[in-house]
Symmetry: C2
Subunit: 202 residues, 2 copies
DNA sequence: ACAGAATGCAAACAAATGTTCCATGTTTTC
DNA sequence: GAAAACATGGAACATTTGTTTGCATTCTGT
């Protein structure tokens, strides 16, 4: 696989520098750290790494080497789902999270903290942070964030989405709970589709 | 809360630039994007944002403004747990993931893809990626990655760790499975403690 | 041993970029 | 309304940084 020669040392350093500092190293940073005597040498390493597909690099721009495939998407944590009306107001923004793009692709993502047990049989637990892709429609069987315009429920909920006999059915993945078939079907609004989750143990 | 004036526009731009490009903007990038006529103005904005705690910035270094609190930790995906011997060999590295530091703190993290249902009652499902903090000891009740030196089992497993009557007990969170109490207790090696997980739905 | 490629170095150059100083207009304060 | 504080701009300056060029050294295959 990858030979661990000087070229890879440079690569590792660039990666580590970026992790530690939040921005890429300059050519001279690399020289200093790896005991390279000439900027031309380090410059050459960078170009070779780019040619081999390890790096991306904008010409002439300072400190613009980025490790390829390490991209992240950022998503705001908008609040707690199933308590209040957390989603629409940007004011409820509780901070941004960087997620690995390899895992969670998508343009318009946001996070919600899950409250309650209504999806426990789908492996979504109380306290989990779910990753939601903002969209207004859903396919049968997808897990969605749904909201009711007419105020019959308190804010948004996570449920599995079905369309049965032309009617929207919101199915909680919890054997102790009943399906919700909203009387006023037009009032149901899909805010997004759940594409993943994160959990951290205490 | 945060007033959405020009200062915040600059802040948002820096954040977005970084998300899009992987490295921070220069003062002149900010000028061009937000129609600011003088670099001194943008420079001033940056310094004010730093003073108010929104940014970090290394003096004199080019493109070194970073949004505070947006830090990530990087962890390699080392393989599949519970199938083979994936962990020790660096060759099994399947790529690095950037995780939000706010969620997964720690020095020495790595990821494993979970195979099997042995922890399903703890909400860890087949296919999940678990985040593991490398350490050799564990406290009662923690979920760990355990390995057997003597080859009695095939590689590493995820289990809940207990010490009962001085003996290590590895408890699968699955009612259909039995606790494992290794005969040769010395052969048990803890590789790390599970601190979180990620899941993406298909 | 030899040519040629690859590697590394030193030095210089050019461009990108951070930083400073001062002037001008705008808002706030008393 | 005057003074002070603030916001913005123009221009220059200083530093950092990417890039090029030419030369020495080492490696490689014949």
């Amino acid at each position: 696989m990858i030979k661990h020669d000087k070229l890879m040392e440079v690569f590792e350093y660039i990666r580590r520098y970026n992790d530690d500092n939040g921005f890429p190293p300059s050519v001279r940073d690399i020289c200093a750290a790896l005991n390279i005597k000439s900027t031309a040498t380090a410059y050459d390493y960078i170009n070779r790494l780019r040619d081999q597909g390890y790096l991306d690099k904008s010409s002439k721009k300072n400190r613009s080497v980025v490790v390829r495939g390490s991209s992240v998407v950022r998503a705001p944590l908008l609040g707690v789902v199933n308590a209040g009306q957390p989603i629409l107001a940007v004011e409820n923004n509780e901070g941004y999270y960087s997620l690995p793009e390899a895992e969670f692709k998508g343009d318009d993502l946001f996070l919600l903290r899950v409250h309650g047990e209504s999806m426990i049989d789908a492996g979504i637990y109380d306290g989990d942070k779910i990753i939601v892709k903002r969209q207004e429609n859903a396919e049968n069987g997808e897990i969605v964030i749904a909201m009711f315009d007419d105020g019959t429920m308190d804010g948004a909920t996570v449920k599995r989405f079905y369309k049965r006999d032309g009617k929207i059915v919101l199915h909680p993945e919890n054997s102790t709970m009943e399906d919700i078939i909203p009387e006023n079907q037009e009032s149901v609004r899909i805010l997004g589709k759940v594409i993943g989750l994160m959990r951290s143990f205490r």
